[in-house]
Symmetry: C2
Subunit: 375 residues, 2 copies
């Protein structure tokens, strides 16, 4: 799986790339909607097709717990199960293993936890998680990592990053399928030197891409900014960089400028379910009385199906009435908003980038149709 | 607004008709999905377009309470507000006035109730409800009626049907718009003679259609069967008959055979939200473990988007995982199931009916494309 960089910003570390996967190209920088349980909450692949997200996420821990990875495999894999034919990525569930279960035992070889659904104890190791992800069948897979809280001690942080490093290598050794890209995850808590150390150690290994984990977990924004920039700079420039779980619009733009290529976050659908919409300049509380009579769309600059068809007055009514359509229409808009934000960033970058030598066969403009994302 | 009967069954009171409205023809018998608050719960007009429901319901009381009928009018009326361009019908909300509010005072001229949302007292009269429905702008509108429980006394039943009769005439007198068909509602409780009396009294008036209200409210099925057949037989055969709030599949077929033309019910979406699907032969509890590995669709005879794309295993997973997509995909299937049930009934009726004289210009087969239902 090849990553091409087709343009670089003359002013920042930003770049435009194409990561080629068995289910089509991922044009970066890109925002990836999150479909934790084999569905982006409330949205069908057919709803998302016009938005053209480059990649959709799911979660190995969640799917292993329900309906079970062998079950997904028997239904033809995750793409067939949820009917999304574009590129997909599974997070290992390292974060969920550490956040959802109150009962867990970590040792050098893996983690034993009680299921958040039924309390049944289950062992996860780097190798067993790769096996799960091979059954699920996403294009990009993440290894089991050790997640810590923002207040972890230095020694806990060191132990976590060492285990995360060792587990990434063990995951790579366990990999059997050659059609999945196994990324490595950079941890290192809030300590800049440990972040750099973790990034450098993994950068020396032949992973096809790298993720930055454990950020945006409650730390001040300046810390996030600094650690993202520092970590991205330590990672090989010829491989994609994926910042996990960060999705505020201004952060997407800032971190794309710092050289991050891939982003995911549950915020657009979570905000949609709670009655909020991204608009130019901020978030709109759609239940506010001032929207009651507004005939215009959520955002006049947005071309999503919600903005193309429905007035603020109607959406306000749906939110106030507690109708399920409210969550759906707002989620659709919010996902479209973030996808389009980075698509525009990429377009501007490609229009403005000129200093880099380029091969003539490389495409300078994203094709209008993009890949066919739904089957 | 003209009602054409284009075929009659040789074996029953069933007929196939076309009710012409300003937003297109309603081919009867037809099941009408319910969009109480200006949305069929969880479904967009675009989702319903392939199902081709002949008419969609909404509710004048609910819309008058929120967002308010003048607000709907200012947004261009209900069709524009919710973006459904096909025929629509508003129930007056007589049923809601009597079921949702614990504080109500009924007199000969109308009813005063405390809003179920904010407790504010509001007066509804036959004329004020027609005014609300003219602001909302559906193609078929229902007059304010007096609803009673299944255990009402004979004298209460008599008073209710007398008021309902008087209010229907007052509603007709208050009507200003000529592009809406005001039906009359037959009440009469569980007493066959009062039902017949109510039907006969209204049948003598020039209403363009008649509804049968106050049934399927808890009475035994044999009583419903008998009262539907009896009431339908008393109503003019040249005008459409609408049975309010009845939606069990076998009842739709039985009552279409008794000469009912229009049906509505919240059941298909309510069942969808609680994890049930209509299938040939009954209702399927989609959360049952036996579905966990089933690769086939909900119903192999169904051509809805849910059945065309998603396995029982996936739908089972969505229901178990509590995902909003579950309610949406099951609701879509259930609405499609009932719409198709009566469409097939109509088709069979038209293929089998031969004894009736027909004008050569009348279409014997519903056009495959049907009317364009969404804009």
């Amino acid at each position: 799986m090849r990553f091409e960089i087709i343009a670089r910003s003359p002013d920042s570390a930003a770049r435009a790339g194409i990561f080629h996967t068995p289910h089509g190209p991922i044009e970066t920088p890109a925002f990836m909607p999150v479909g934790t349980q084999a569905t982006v909450k409330g949205l069908l692949p057919a709803d998302m097709a016009p938005i053209r997200p480059q990649c959709v996420l799911s979660n190995a821990y969640h799917l292993a717990t329900r309906p079970g990875a062998p079950m997904v495999a028997r239904r033809g894999g995750l793409h067939a199960f949820m009917r999304w034919d574009g590129p997909m990525l599974t997070d290992s569930g390292g974060y969920q293993v550490f956040s959802l279960s109150s009962l867990r035992q970590v040792d050098d070889r893996g983690v034993t936890i009680a299921s958040h659904l039924n309390g049944r104890r289950r062992r996860f190791t780097p190798a067993s998680v790769v096996k799960i992800e091979e059954q699920i069948g996403a294009d990009i897979i993440m290894p089991l990592d050790v997640c810590i809280g923002p207040d972890a001690s230095r020694s806990d942080t060191e132990q976590a990053l060492e285990r995360t490093y060792a587990w990434a290598l063990r995951a790579a050794a366990a990999q059997r399928r050659s059609d999945q890209a196994l990324f490595a995850i950079v941890q290192g808590g809030m300590a800049p030197d440990l972040r750099a150390q973790a990034a450098r150690a993994l950068a020396a290994e032949p992973f096809p891409g790298f993720a930055i984990g454990g950020l945006s977990v409650g730390e001040p924004r300046e810390i996030t900014d600094r650690l993202v920039a520092l970590t991205a700079a330590e990672l090989p420039s010829d491989r994609p960089r994926y910042l996990m779980g960060v999705g505020e619009p201004d952060q997407l733009l800032a971190y794309a400028a710092a050289g991050v290529d891939l982003f995911d976050c549950v915020l657009p659908t979570r905000l949609g379910r709670t009655g909020y919409a991204y608009v130019s300049g901020g978030k709109l509380n759609v239940s506010r009385a001032v929207l009651r009579a507004e005939r215009g769309p959520l955002d006049p600059n947005c071309s999503c199906a919600t903005c193309a068809r429905y007035s603020r007055a109607y959406l306000h009514h749906l939110v106030r009435a507690g109708e399920p359509l409210a969550a759906r229409l707002l989620s659709l808009h919010n996902v479209a908003y973030l996808v389009e934000l980075l698509r525009s960033f990429r377009k501007a970058l490609m229009a403005g980038a000129s200093a880099e030598p380029r091969s003539p066969r490389r495409c300078l403009v994203p094709s209008p149709g993009g890949a066919l994302r739904t089957g």
